[in-house]
């Protein structure tokens, strides 16, 4: 039994420390432990429902090697600070404030409850003396940061930037109610703030009530508050202390109980999500789900289900998504939230703030019935959402998984359907005969080697657009001439090449992808080469990661960059200003940002960057099969949005440089439809290099 006596008498110097249940009486202590037990049970039951929900997901491997880097990300809060420094700093303070407060509480629990109460070894107790003083200082400092962070984030909620708005892009205003989400956001902030402030007041009143023991000067905030309330006198302060002791304790217990039922859950889910997230999953998509199951949630892995709960609605994905930006009915944020609502509703989880799924929506299929086909087809798989997500949600594989479900039942967008049919029949999306694949080479003076019949150093995997689209084929001609100038030994697969299947796979047609992959691997096996170059970054991605040819496949800009660096191509003499568009599948997907830039600068052009560049590049709208689909319903095509961004750089920017055949097609159209073709020239890096050719050093 804990003695309920005031051990620190007025003016007496004693060992630094404090009594947890000071003047509580046995009834108070018992009441506290009963309440704590209740809070824990409420927490555990909510937690149990969540975990049971995650258990319905399919298995998925965990990469233990990620734990180290993930811990660094979590502790540094780097992912939160990405492209939003102020929020990153504020959240850093909140995160560490919370961590310190949690550890501080745990220390008391160990000292009081474990060592003394349970083990009866009060001799081992350590929460006193110098340790107590250091503890006081650290807790006070971090709590001040905690409050400051919370106040800033609360202020931001009252003056929200666009991305914090909960308007949906896929529904009529008024047809949905998201007030619950706002209430949850605010309740979370308010409870935390209440815990912190009540803690400080408790500390202040305690110091005043214990007559300012000198060691408490280490509690710098508490000491200041104590001085402010010293007019109450010892008795008054003691009364106030008891009131705040209970207030603080109840707030903290309420918070614990409240975690699995609120946004506070992100504290747990986000840590797990960041530890197990696999950003590579968009590059090498997971294999499809096996046999269909009756369980609605069997479409998802346990990680996907944690993803849904991990979302804090920060809206960064909503902000960067090219589909959302151009009026398509897709917001990655809303998609994840919808899936959370569905998963919760089908797991018997009904949250107090009421964002539940609509009645009867838990029957049927996820894709098509619950998440509309239009929403799913809108994704360009540009990966901007995954790149910007601070908590490691994997939107792209989730969307592809749902697209697979659509394809399986034949619910396919009409443009996509005709592309799939052409690809099945002819191996290319243009529906052209395979024999015509290398027809573009007729524009060359010399024949390109057939890698199937003679060995070559570089096997050029040209891709559909660079072969069949007249504008992109112009670029292929430039590349071919440059390689010839530099006496590179290269060849083609000619009619044996098929579409690589990158877009096919991302559009959800797994069977067709498998077929194309088999055909290409067979063709590659018949050729002799040491490296593969691709024109299309989309093919590059799939050959590298999905054909598992990593290490042997490079992009043509990488090869041209090497040739220029080695002096095998000598370029200079261009003048003017260019801007460069990072293709999603070259930048975000392959981390190749420098080779094209070096090439542009080598030609003599000056490079002006657009605001959205490098990993923050804005998609042209062609990826993930979108290039085959209807984009007439969009308010603005992503490519047009991008051209307007380039134009806004100023009149002096004359070249819009691309490094992807799909970009050539998309932006070639967009400069026309936006009426800027006279002032902005869409040009490929290879075309610039060819224009800037001054000589070739042979040998």
């Amino acid at each position: 039994m804990v003695p309920a006596t005031l051990i620190f008498a007025h003016g007496e110097e004693a060992v630094p420390g404090r009594e947890t249940f000071l003047n509580m009486g046995d009834g108070g202590v018992i009441a506290f432990y009963l309440l704590a037990l209740m809070a824990t049970l409420i927490f555990l039951s909510g937690f149990f429902f969540r975990v049971r929900k995650y258990g319905r997901g399919r298995g998925r491997p965990v990469d233990w090697k990620r734990f180290g880097p993930a811990l660094a990300e979590i502790t540094s809060q780097r992912t939160v600070a990405k492209r939003d420094r102020a929020v990153g700093v504020a959240h850093f303070f909140v995160f560490w404030g919370f961590m310190v407060l949690t550890i501080a509480t745990a220390i008391i629990a160990i000292d009081e409850d474990v060592l003394d109460l349970l083990l009866g070894r009060s001799d081992l107790q350590f929460w006193h003396g110098a340790f107590y003083q250091g503890y006081s200082l650290i807790v006070d400092l971090f709590s001040v940061g905690f409050i400051a962070g919370l106040v800033f984030l609360g202020w931001r909620r009252r003056n929200p930037p666009f991305k914090l708005g909960y308007e949906r892009v896929d529904r009529e205003e008024g047809s949905y109610d998201r007030k619950g989400y706002s209430i949850d956001d605010r309740a979370f902030l308010v409870v935390l703030l209440f815990i912190a402030i009540s803690g400080f007041l408790l500390e202040g009143f305690r110091i005043a009530a214990t007559n300012f023991p000198s060691f408490e000067t280490w509690s710098i905030a508490g000491w200041t508050i104590a001085q402010t309330v010293s007019f109450l006198g010892v008795d008054g302060a003691e009364t106030a202390r008891l009131v705040f002791w209970w207030t603080h304790a109840l707030a903290a217990l309420t918070f614990i109980a409240f975690i699995p039922y609120s946004k506070a859950m992100h504290i747990l889910t986000d840590v797990v999500d960041l530890l197990v997230t696999d950003q590579h999953s968009a590059r090498a998509l997971p294999d499809p789900v096996g046999a269909p199951s009756d369980d609605l949630l069997s479409l998802f892995t346990w990680k996907d289900l944690i993803d849904h709960d991990a979302c804090t609605k920060c809206g960064r994905c909503h902000d960067v998504c090219p589909a959302r930006a151009t009026g398509a009915p897709l917001s990655p944020r809303d998609l994840i939230l919808d899936l959370r609502e569905l998963a919760d509703a089908s797991s018997g989880i009904n949250l107090w703030y009421g964002p539940g799924a609509e009645p009867n929506s838990t029957t049927g299929t996820v894709a098509g019935d619950y998440i509309s086909a239009e929403t799913l087809w809108a994704c360009t798989t540009c990966m901007a959402c995954m790149e910007v997500c601070p908590v490691g949600i994997e939107h792209v594989p989730t969307i592809v998984q749902m697209r697979r479900q659509l394809v399986e039942v034949g619910n396919v967008e009409p443009g996509l359907q005709s592309a799939f049919q052409s690809l099945t029949r002819a191996g290319n999306s243009f529906g052209k005969s395979a024999k015509q694949r290398a027809r573009w080479t007729k524009g060359l003076d010399q024949n390109i080697k057939d890698a199937r019949s003679e060995p070559v150093e570089y096997l050029w995997f040209v891709g559909d657009h660079a072969s069949f689209d007249p504008r992109a084929a112009e670029v292929s001609l430039s590349v071919a001439r440059l390689l010839s100038y530099a006496e590179v030994d290269f060849g083609l697969l000619y009619e044996a090449e098929r579409n690589s299947g990158n877009d096919v796979r991302r559009a959800g047609e797994e069977g067709l992808f498998e077929m194309l992959k088999e055909q290409n691997l067979e063709a590659l096996a018949s050729a002799q080469y040491s490296q593969i170059i691709t024109t299309d970054p989309h093919s590059l991605n799939t050959l590298r990661y999905e054909y598992e040819l990593e290490g042997t496949v490079i992009h043509y800009t990488e090869l041209l960059d090497r040739l220029v660096a080695d002096g095998l191509l000598q370029v200079s003499g261009l003048s003017g200003i260019a801007t460069y568009h990072d293709p999603c599948y070259l930048g975000r997907y392959q981390d190749e940002y420098e080779a094209p830039r070096r090439l542009i600068q080598a030609t003599g052009l000056e490079l002006h960057e657009m605001g959205r560049c490098r990993e923050n590049s804005f998609c042209c709208g062609a990826g993930g099969g979108r290039i085959w689909m209807d984009d007439s319903d969009l308010e603005e095509r992503p490519s047009e949005n991008r051209i307007r961004e380039a134009v806004a750089l100023g009149d002096e920017v004359a070249y819009f440089v691309v490094a992807c055949p799909k970009d050539m097609v998309m932006y070639g159209d967009a400069v026309k439809t936006t009426g800027h073709e006279d002032r902005l020239q869409v040009v490929d890096v290879a075309q610039l290099v060819e224009q800037a050719m001054t000589g070739v050093s042979v040998g």
Partner: protein, 318 residues
Amino acid sequence: MSDVFVVTEHLQGELTETSFELIALARDIAAQTGGRVVAGLVGSGVIGLAAELGGADRIVVVDDPAFENFSPDGHAAVYASLIEGSPIVLIPYTSMGMDVASALSTTSGIPLVSFCTSISVDDGLGATCQLYAGKIEADVEVAGDRAIFAVLSGSTSAEDGRSGAAAEVTRVDNPVESELRSTCLGLTEPEGGDVDITSEDVLVVVGRGIESEDNIAEAQEVADLLGGAVAGSRPIIDQGWLAKDRQVGKSGLTVKPKVYLTLGVSGAPEHVEGMKDAETIIAVNTDPQAPIFAVAHYGWVGDIFDLLPELVDKLEAD
């Protein structure tokens, strides 16, 4: 002295243009063979239509309530008996003719040639046919001295088949004794849409080359700038990209606008049938071999997606 038999067709009390075209064609053939032109007319209350068929020498009429409407197996059975004695039979290659021609040929064993655009009789029986949606033209010869020719609409001028002369009219009782196995339940007129493409001055017509439904919006923009309408060829309507009342051609509507601009229309005979009389036909197609260039007044070989933005620019600037 071989007679040439023409299967005529009519709908809602009107003989079709193709019927007259076939009579004109039969006249040419009969002039060479020295035979007569015999026109068959089968229906209910159709005797009055015989007066319009003066281009023939003789008209055989089966006027029977059983044939109030076209009957696929009934008409075939009637004509099987009517054509006896005529070695050369011309049948329109149309929705009605298709049900008659192949049935006649199969039951009688007389060779049938489809997709005919012209017929020759000077050195045995033969014809010129359009195959592969008009991409290939074939000269064929028929074994024996009897043949049925299924002739494409528009193969000759209908005017040449019209005549005010009075032909010899022979009424024949319905020779079919067995009960008809199909019953017509009635005709349905096309639903009136928002636009009547037959009364537009300008039609921008999209074909397979438009590739996807969304691209039609670009064609619509051009049509809007010209104060016209968008129409389509059959594949576009079958895909559901345009409403049925926008279809030009055999199974759609026949149009005669001032300007007929085709985008990615290959020009299959079925399409040409519905638009060949347009005043000015401009065709755009990537395939220089496309048959549409044979009927167009002006042609450009190239990508319609390159052209469309340019056209919009030029028209907006105008």
